[in-house]
C-alpha cells in the first residue's frame, strides 16, 4: 500500500517567532491509523491544523506535504478548500463547540455536501448516521445539538467528515469530551469509515489500543515513532517514558486498618426553589476512614449537590446525614473544587494559599519556616516542585492550579477530602500522579470522596464507585 499522506521536515512557525512544530516527518499508509501523542503544548493541534490547511495565513509552514498523491506544500487557500471534505476530513475536539447551537444536527451534517455544491436527502443522512450507531437517527437529527449526547454528536461530526469518503481523516482529540466507554466506541466508528486516520490524543491508553503506529511529539519534534507494542516494550525517549508512566498500575492498596465509618447518608434528598427543582432524590452513601469512594454519573445528576451535602455546606431537605465526631471539628473536611483558578485566592501567592489551612486556630502553631517547607514538599508531591511558589494563580495553567488546590487539601491532613472533578484539566501523567497522591493520603487514614466523569481514573483509584442517576444512587454491583 502506498502512503496517502506523507510529510517531510514539516515546520510551522508563528509570526511572533514561536516554532510549535519543528521538522516533523512521517508517512501514513492507506487505511492505517497514526496517532500523535504528547503533553499539552507539544504542538499536536498545530500540526493537525497544518496537515489540513487550517492554519492562519500569517503562520509559515515549510517542508514537503504530500496528500493523496498531490503536493500540497504550496497549496493556495482555494486548493485547500477543494481538498478538505473530498480528500481530507477533519473531526474537531469538542462536538458542542463545533456545532452552531441554533441549527439542527442534520443541517451540520448536510453542510458537508452543500459546501461542495452537492445535494443530499435527509433520508441519506439518517441512513449514514444509523450506520455510525445513532439510534432513531431519522427523528433525532431534527433536534438541536444541546439535546444530543457528546458521543452521538461526535458521531454526527464523523458522518460529516466522512461525507465524501476522503482517504484521510484528521481527528484532533475527538474523544476528550467523552467518557472512556464512549471514547472507545467513537474511535471504532472513526476507524470503520476505512480512511487513514491521523489521531491526536493525550489519552495514551486509548491510543495504544487503537493506533497502528504512534508518534510522540515533544516541544514540536517527533521524538519517537513506532508500533504500540514496540513503544510499550522499549520506550527510548524520556517523554515517551513519562507518557507511558500514566499506564503503570498504582501501588497495591495498603489494607485499610479500620473500617470505622465516618459519614453516612441515607435516603438524602435536596430540593431547591421551594421544591420545584430536585437535585438529589434518595441518595445513599457511606464512607469509612481510609476509604476512597468515587461518584460518577451524567452531568446534572446531582453529583455536586451530593458532595456539598457530604461537606456539610448544604443541609439535606429530607433523609438522614450522620457524621462521625472526627468530622465535626473545623478543618476536618477539606474540599477540592471543580473550578481550579477560583479555588485559590487571586491576589495571594500560591504558597500563602497552600499554608492557610495550617494556620487556623486550634492547630499546633508551626513556625513559618516549617510551614513553608511542608508546602514546598506538598507541591513536589503533586509534581509542581519546579514551580515558583510565589507565583499568583493567574500565572498558572488550569492544570497547575488544580494540582495546587489538591496539594492544599492534602497538606492539612484532614479526616476527609471531598474532590469535585480534581483531574478535569490534567493530562494522563499528571492524573496518574494525582491518583498516587490521593492513594497515599487514603493510606494515611484520610477518607477520600471523589466525583469524576473519568471512569477509568475512578475505577483505578477508588475502592468503591457509586453511580448517581437523576439524583438517586444506583446500588453498585460488587467488584
Amino acid at each position: 500500500m502506498g502512503a496517502v499522506l506523507s510529510c517531510e521536515d514539516l515546520t510551522v512557525s508563528y509570526p511572533n517567532g514561536a516554532v510549535p512544530v519543528r521538522g516533523v516527518s512521517f508517512s501514513l499508509a492507506a487505511g492505517a491509523c497514526f496517532a500523535l501523542v504528547g503533553g499539552s503544548g507539544a504542538g499536536k493541534s498545530t500540526l493537525a491544523r497544518a496537515l489540513s490547511g487550517l492554519h492562519r495565513r500569517s503562520t509559515r509552514v515549510s517542508g514537503r506535504l504530500m496528500l493523496d498523491g498531490t503536493d500540497m506544500s504550496a497549496a493556495t487557500a482555494a486548493q485547500w478548500r477543494a481538498a478538505r471534505g473530498r480528500r481530507i476530513g477533519f473531526v474537531a475536539q469538542n462536538p458542542w463547540a463545533s456545532c452552531d447551537p441554533l441549527r439542527q444536527v442534520r443541517d451540520h451534517v448536510a453542510e458537508a455536501w452543500r459546501c461542495h455544491g452537492c445535494e443530499i436527502g435527509w433520508h441519506d443522512i439518517a441512513t449514514r448516521l444509523e450506520g455510525l450507531g445513532v439510534a432513531q437517527a431519522g427523528e433525532r437529527m431534527g433536534q438541536y445539538p444541546h439535546a444530543w449526547s457528546g458521543g452521538m454528536l461526535q458521531r454526527a461530526s464523523i458522518a460529516a467528515a466522512g461525507a465524501h469518503g476522503p482517504p484521510i481523516l484528521i481527528a484532533d482529540e475527538p474523544t476528550s469530551a467523552l467518557d472512556a466507554d464512549r471514547a472507545q466506541s467513537v474511535l471504532e466508528v472513526l476507524r470503520s469509515l476505512g480512511a487513514a486516520v491521523v489521531l491526536i490524543s493525550h489519552d495514551i491508553g486509548l491510543v495504544l489500543r487503537n493506533a497502528d503506529r504512534v508518534g510522540v511529539l515533544h516541544n514540536g519534534r517527533l521524538v519517537e515513532e513506532g508500533s504500540p507494542a514496540m513503544l510499550t516494550r522499549a520506550p527510548v525517549h524520556a517523554e515517551t517514558q513519562r507518557l507511558l508512566s500514566a499506564l503503570a498500575p498504582l501501588p497495591p492498596r495498603a489494607r485499610p486498618r479500620q473500617e470505622r465509618p465516618l459519614l453516612r447518608l441515607s435516603n438524602v434528598s435536596v430540593c431547591y426553589a421551594k421544591g420545584r427543582v430536585t437535585a438529589l432524590a434518595g441518595a445513599n452513601l457511606e464512607i469509612a476512614a481510609g476509604q476512597i469512594v468515587g461518584v460518577q454519573g451524567p452531568s446534572g445528576c446531582g453529583k455536586s449537590t451530593l458532595l456539598r451535602v457530604a461537606m456539610g455546606i448544604e443541609p439535606p431537605s429530607s433523609g438522614q446525614l450522620w457524621r462521625d465526631k472526627a468530622l465535626g471539628g473545623a478543618g476536618a473536611i477539606l474540599p477540592v473544587f471543580q473550578d481550579p483558578v477560583s479555588s485559590l485566592v487571586p491576589h495571594w501567592s500560591i504558597l500563602r494559599s497552600l499554608c492557610e489551612p495550617l494556620t487556623v486556630p486550634g492547630r499546633p502553631r508551626l513556625p513559618r519556616a516549617r510551614r513553608l517547607a511542608r508546602a514546598r514538599a506538598a507541591l513536589a508531591q503533586v509534581g509542581l516542585g519546579a514551580m515558583d511558589p510565589h507565583a499568583r494563580p493567574f500565572e498558572l495553567s488550569h492544570g497547575q492550579c488544580q494540582r495546587v488546590a489538591l496539594a492544599r487539601a492534602i497538606l492539612a491532613e484532614p479526616a476527609m477530602i471531598v474532590a469535585d472533578e480534581p483531574t478535569s484539566a490534567l493530562d494522563s501523567p499528571s492524573t496518574w500522579r494525582v491518583s498516587q497522591v490521593l492513594r497515599a493520603a487514603a493510606d494515611r487514614g484520610t477518607a477520600v470522596l471523589i466525583v469524576s466523569h473519568d471512569t477509568a481514573f475512578l475505577e483505578r483509584l477508588a475502592d468503591r464507585v457509586v453511580t448517581l442517576e437523576a439524583g438517586q444512587t444506583i446500588p453498585a454491583a460488587a467488584p
Binding site: A18, I333, P346, P361, H390, R408
Partner: protein, 290 residues
C-alpha cells in the same frame, strides 16, 4: 529553516504579578499615571509657591491679555490667572480625592457589613442606601447645601452624602459574590476565622473593584465639585478653585476670552488622566471586557 528550528520558542507572556507594574505597561495606564503625577506636582507646588500672589488684587494690571509675565492673562482685579489656577489645583484635586476616599471607605465598610451580615443589618443599611439613591445626586446635593449654606466643607459633605450609596451597593454585591467563591468556602471549611476570611479573602478583591470605580469617577468628581463651585456653592472668594475661576471669567468672556483657557484645560487634563488610568485598570482586571 534550520535557523528557525534552532530558535528557542518564546516564553509565553505572563501578566506581571504587581498591579502597578501592569498598569505602567498598559499604554493608557502609563499616560494617565504620568499626567496624574504631573497634575499632583502642579497642585503641591501651587500650595507653596506661585509666580504671583494668587489672591492679592493689582488693579493696574486688570484684564491683561496673555504675555510672558502672565501666560494666561490677568483677571478683572489684576490677579495672575496662571497663579490662580496653580493655587486652585489643591482645592479642586484635593477635594475630589478627599470625597472619593470618604465614599470609598464608607461604601466599602457599609457594603461588606451588609453583604456578610445579611438579616436586619443588611435590610436597614440597604434601605438607607435606597433613600440616598432615590434622589438624583445633584438635587440631593443642592438640598444639603441649601440646608447647610455654601462653603467647601459643606459641599464635600453634600457630595459624600449623595454618592456613598452607589459604592455601598456595589460593595455589597461584590461581597455577596465573594462569599460563595470556592477559595472562601475552602477557607471556611478549613476553619479559618471569620475576620481573617473577610480581611484576607474578601476585602482585597472588593476594594480593588471599588477602587477601579473610584478612579473612573475621579474625573466626574472633579467636574461635580467644579460645577458646584461654578454656581457659587463651593469655594468662596477670594480663594481660587477651577470651577469658581471659570465662573468669574465667564463674566468677561466678551472682552477677555483667554481667561477661560487655563481653568478649562486644567479640568480637562485632570479628568483625562483619571479616565486613562480607569480604562487601564478595567482592562487589566477584566481582560474579557465588560
Amino acid at each position: 529553516m534550520t535557523l528557525l528550528g534552532l530558535m528557542r520558542p518564546q516564553a509565553p507572556r505572563v501578566p506581571d504579578r504587581y498591579l502597578m507594574r501592569r498598569l505602567w505597561r498598559h499604554p493608557s495606564g502609563r499616560a494617565g499615571l504620568l499626567l496624574g503625577a504631573l497634575l499632583l506636582v502642579f497642585a503641591l507646588l501651587g500650595a507653596v509657591w506661585t509666580p504671583h500672589p494668587p489672591d492679592i488684587p493689582d488693579y493696574a494690571n486688570a484684564l491683561k491679555p496673555p504675555s510672558l509675565a502672565h501666560p494666561f492673562g490677568t483677571d478683572s482685579t489684576g490677579r495672575d490667572m496662571f497663579s490662580r489656577v496653580m493655587d486652585g489645583a489643591q482645592r479642586s484635586i484635593g477635594s475630589a480625592l478627599l470625597v472619593l476616599a470618604a465614599v470609598f471607605l464608607i461604601g466599602l465598610a457599609v457594603g461588606i457589613l451588609s453583604g456578610l451580615a445579611r438579616g436586619a443589618t443588611d435590610i436597614l443599611l440597604m434601605r438607607l442606601a435606597d433613600i440616598a439613591l432615590a434622589m438624583p445626586p445633584l438635587v440631593l446635593g443642592f438640598a444639603i447645601l441649601g440646608l447647610l449654606g455654601p462653603g467647601l466643607f459643606n459641599l464635600l459633605l453634600a457630595v459624600v452624602i449623595a454618592e456613598w450609596a452607589y459604592y455601598a451597593r456595589l460593595a455589597r454585591a461584590l461581597s455577596l459574590g465573594a462569599r460563595s467563591r470556592p477559595h472562601v468556602v475552602a477557607a471556611r471549611m478549613a476553619g479559618v476565622p471569620r475576620w481573617r476570611i473577610i480581611w484576607g479573602h474578601i476585602l482585597p478583591g472588593v476594594a480593588l473593584q471599588l477602587g477601579i470605580l473610584a478612579t473612573l469617577q475621579l474625573g466626574i468628581m472633579i467636574s461635580v465639585i467644579s460645577g458646584f463651585s461654578f454656581l457659587g456653592l463651593g469655594v468662596q472668594p477670594p480663594h481660587a478653585e477651577w470651577g469658581a475661576l471659570l465662573s468669574e471669567s465667564r463674566l468677561f468672556f466678551a472682552i477677555a476670552p483667554w481667561l477661560l483657557i487655563a481653568p478649562a484645560v486644567a479640568i480637562f487634563l485632570s479628568i483625562l488622566s483619571a479616565n486613562l488610568v480607569g480604562i487601564a485598570l478595567r482592562d487589566i482586571e477584566t481582560p474579557e471586557g465588560r
